[in-house]
Subunit: 597 residues, 2 copies
């Protein structure tokens, strides 16, 4: 129907007759002339109808916002006075000759350019309207470009796009599964996959060598701001490649993606061990755009009597760390109180601080409630170690290492953001050398990744030192977000059994849960490994979106509902009967009970 | 780890030192030398170890089928006597220098080259082994190529890949939904989508203009041989294009797909009306490779007294049709009985036939139990109309038109196949001009497609003549298989209401089921339409596979189970409690009850 997209018109089209299709974004009358801003997915252009074209002018006079039009007219330059430099097509306009109203529109539930005046619930209910906003169009267009660029790269690198089942059985990620009652096997249930992990490993056992999939995954968890019950994963697995090769290919993929879609050069990604990331940033996904670091001062604090510091400093599982914030001396008492509350979310029982007002004056030039507990020499040595300068504030964490890392790591981000210390640009890195296991708090071990992750040592060494063994896992981190993670997998049966033994998973349990994978490892499994990227998060980063809901066409709310389609909904007694299930409590009772909890 | 894929080696690699990784396909000892056939996804190559390389020879001596090896060696030409022309790499072999056993393998549950000796259940249980077979590898590799080629085409044509939800609400296709109990909304259920139909229409209302998705769809139906509970659809929707433009783009897509993947030229697709397809082939998806046609003889049969023919000939809803099969006079009585049984599946109460033995002898030269019921002149005129020749058999159907079309349409395929009358090659076509509605058998109307299909007339005309109104739907048919179907959709509220009224769907029911779509049509819906291709069937056709299970990596059985992972499986009482459901009958009871039915 159309000859051009609205947004594609420019001065090189002047004097051409064009046909456009789109929506009325705005309509104005001015000096007996009607101005229509016509919008399509490519952009907006101004169309002018003057009374000469009587029939069409009259029609133009009837149109209202969001009417769907087909317009034919001639492109002409705007006069210098009317050029609109804020508009991509602002140097031209279309002098309308013919106008066909393809569809009318009721008054929209909200004005697109005033979407912030209504709540997100209204925008989600009328999602098809909200998606008309150019920002939303651009986000989903960029998402399609990103997916396409990734696919091209992987297709070109010999990866095969292979689909794995959605109706499957519980996978080992450990989050809560969505379940689907089976009609043909009454009393049994499918689970929706939390990831294609087991299937992709089986594909390697099958010899497909290089696999990828843009895979839907599902987790029935209580949702945080950046989570959705269904999310999309760029899922990759390879055989006969080691971790360096896998990291090299996928790093190249992300680098070329940023080049082609954003024209951004990411350069080579540095690698950092998990231990170093925790030590310096209190996080296994450090945001390297922030020039703040945690510095350990345990050795100094072993010299003080102050119990709050001395205890953790002497504790092998404890840590005392300092976070120096340049220019932070101006932070108010009120703000410090807020930060103290903030770190308490992460288990910190307080937030000690020292303001550096005048270093030349020695301890006299410092300001802090804790100075009185520390010998002057220790304080001075600490200032030297931290390379403190006038105007700094130094925060302290002293507790179990995990608490210190988590709370100071979070504080680092928070302070950097509110003080504008986050540099522009992109800071990617690999985090490597993760521990295989972590203490489960009751004398046992849980896997830091999943139980199929290969260790960087022999079964015997692993059995001997599970607490210090490192895995062959790797995470790709960008601007403080984990873009993707993966590992070389265990491909030998003996090693898999060792890991299960350390995790306290009995042979029966292992066989019951992953029997088919264990079987497969016996029939000639190749060395293999892979990685999965969270597509939604990648698109969020690349589009600068604050909410995951902004990069998904039809997202769920935080209570895992779709307010547009009213899903989930009621089903008939007949449907439940066919599935051999009944409700435990009627819907309203159950809802009331859930609210009471 | 490798320098080459096994199957990529040829005479141009002679004297190169290569490193290969793969599986031992076969192992032979001959004259003190060990021959290993090494297999990867690209093919198979012969590797020779002689006793010179002692350590590696000893290792080679230990390997068994399906061991995983890394081999380094020199490519050399085979002697003329040992060239194996049945093997793609049969002109060369690799003289092994080094061998590393990457993994051992237990004795496989079945030998790959003897997979037909075990049942499909065994192959499905050890799917990861069955997928190692070169035929299976090639099918899934071709599937990936097909998907990739389609995506490239659509990306290049400005289509945006947009994901729609899997956790959603019941869609209007009318098959049984898979349900997912909601934990956060106890008593409510998500449905898995039978197609993204409503979402893709909403994306058009949102202005995305051209959308596609390789979409997982779900139907909880009792499975036929070519169905799976989850299947994949190439889902396409466009705005501002009419049916000719949509058909033209998608036809080009399929044509380019066949060119690029199979090097096949399909040419321009003919178009045929639904009425003509039913008249000539008794099917809305005629296989044009078969040179047999149905010919109506109602007018002739109105001249006979034979009730079986005369009744349907006089009935406006009836039909008497003939199917002439050249060379069919040699079909035995036993075979005719089998065909009679076959057409009874489709409701035919018998299968009349005439064998043409000697046309020159007039009626005397014909052989049939029904000749005695028909005047000679009618028989002769019929022979002329059918252009009968000696050696033909003519089958007859006489009943309601629907029964005649279905039974003779099916017989046409059956006879053609068993007599080898199906031509080689590809016969695509479009079927168009479908009726909007069909009689629901109780005085009402049901949609031939879905209730969002636009009619080719005004709301007033549609209301006046629902039985004869045509729709703007179109199906793409290839070799008797419906590859895809679609339509221009209703984009105006008034038309949608008219259709619902004719279908007897009340305003409340419409609002309850599709309220969000009806709302959307009021806020400026553009003219739009689309089409969906069944990817699994397309891949079946393009790979020449007989079973849909051969083109899906991890398919379900006919009872909708996965024998490899044992899905569906049992879940815990705790999980059910969280979802506010309980089993109606315990699993074993329910299974017993289901078996009794």
């Amino acid at each position: 129907m159309r000859s051009h997209y609205c947004g594609a018109l420019g001065t090189n089209n002047i004097d051409e007759t064009v046909t456009l299709c789109g929506w009325v974004d705005r309509r104005r009358d001015h000096g007996g002339v009607i101005f229509l801003d016509l919008r399509d997915r490519d952009g907006i252009v101004q169309v002018v109808f003057d009374p000469d074209t009587e029939e069409h002018f009259q029609r133009a006079d009837r149109v209202r916002p969001e009417y769907v039009l087909k317009v034919t007219g001639r492109v002409r330059a705007r006069s210098e006075a009317t050029v609109n430099s804020a508009m991509a097509t602002g140097e031209i306009e279309v002098l309308g000759k013919e106008l066909e109203i393809l569809n009318s529109a009721a008054t929209p539930p909200f004005q697109l350019d005033a979407h912030t005046t209504v709540g997100e619930d209204v925008r989600l209910k009328y999602r098809y309207m909200d998606l008309r906003r150019p920002e939303m169009q651009n986000r989903l267009i960029l998402r399609a470009q990103i997916t396409s660029a990734i696919r091209s790269f992987l297709d070109g690198a010999g990866f095969l796009d292979i689909e794995t089942p959605i109706l499957t059985r519980a996978t080992p990620e450990g989050a809560r599964d969505y379940l689907v009652p089976s009609r043909t096997h009454p009393g049994s249930f499918f689970a929706l996959p939390q990831s294609p992990q087991l299937f992709k490993q089986l594909l390697m056992v099958s010899g497909f060598d290089r696999y990828y999939q843009v895979a839907k995954c599902f987790r029935d968890e209580d949702l945080r701001a950046d989570r959705q019950p269904e999310f999309t994963q760029i899922d990759i697995e390879t055989a006969f490649l080691d971790e360096d090769e896998i990291m090299s290919i996928t790093e190249r993929m992300i680098r070329e993606l940023f080049q082609s879609v954003l024209s951004v050069e990411l350069g080579d990604f540095p690698r950092m061990s998990y231990a170093e990331a925790m030590e310096r940033y209190g996080s296994d996904k450090p945001d390297l755009r922030i020039p703040l670091e945690l510095v350990s001062v345990d050795d100094l604090m072993q010299q003080v009597d102050f119990k709050v510091f001395r205890g953790p400093a002497d504790d092998p599982d404890g840590r005392v760390a300092a976070l120096k914030v340049p220019g932070g001396a101006k932070i108010s008492r009120k703000e410090i109180d807020d930060y103290t509350k903030y770190v308490s979310i992460y288990g910190a029982r307080g937030l000690a601080w020292i303001k550096v007002n005048d270093l030349a004056a020695g301890v006299e030039g410092l300001q802090s409630p804790i100075l009185k507990f520390m010998p002057e020499a220790v304080v001075i040595e600490m200032m030297t170690r931290l390379q403190a300068q006038d105007g700094d504030i130094i925060f302290f964490g002293a507790d179990k290492s995990a608490v210190v890392n988590e709370s100071l790591g979070a504080l680092r981000l928070k302070v950097a953001e509110s003080m504008g210390l986050v540099a522009e640009g992109w800071a990617p890195l690999w985090v490597v050398d993760f521990p295989m296991f972590e203490d489960d708090g009751s004398g046992g071990w849980t896997p830091l990744h999943h139980p199929f992750t290969a260790p960087a040592c022999s079964p015997e060494e692993l059995q001997a030192n599970p607490g210090t063994a490192l895995s062959r896992a790797y995470d790709m981190v960008l601007n403080g977000t984990e873009l993707g993670g993966g590992s070389v997998r265990i491909h030998q049966h003996e090693m898999q059994e060792t890991v299960f033994r350390i995790l306290g998973i009995s042979d029966e349990e292992a066989q019951e849960k992953f029997g088919f994978l264990l079987d497969a490892l016996q029939y000639g499994a190749p060395p293999h490994g892979g990685l999965a990227f969270g597509l939604d998060r990648l698109v969020m980063l690349m589009t600068g979106s604050q909410s995951i809901r902004d990069v998904i066409a039809f997202p769920k709310t935080q209570s895992a509902a779709c307010v547009m389609t009213d899903a989930p909904g009621e089903v008939s007694a007949q449907q439940l009967r066919e599935l051999n299930i009944r409700l435990r409590q009627a819907k309203q009772e159950a809802a009331a009970a859930a609210q009471d909890e």
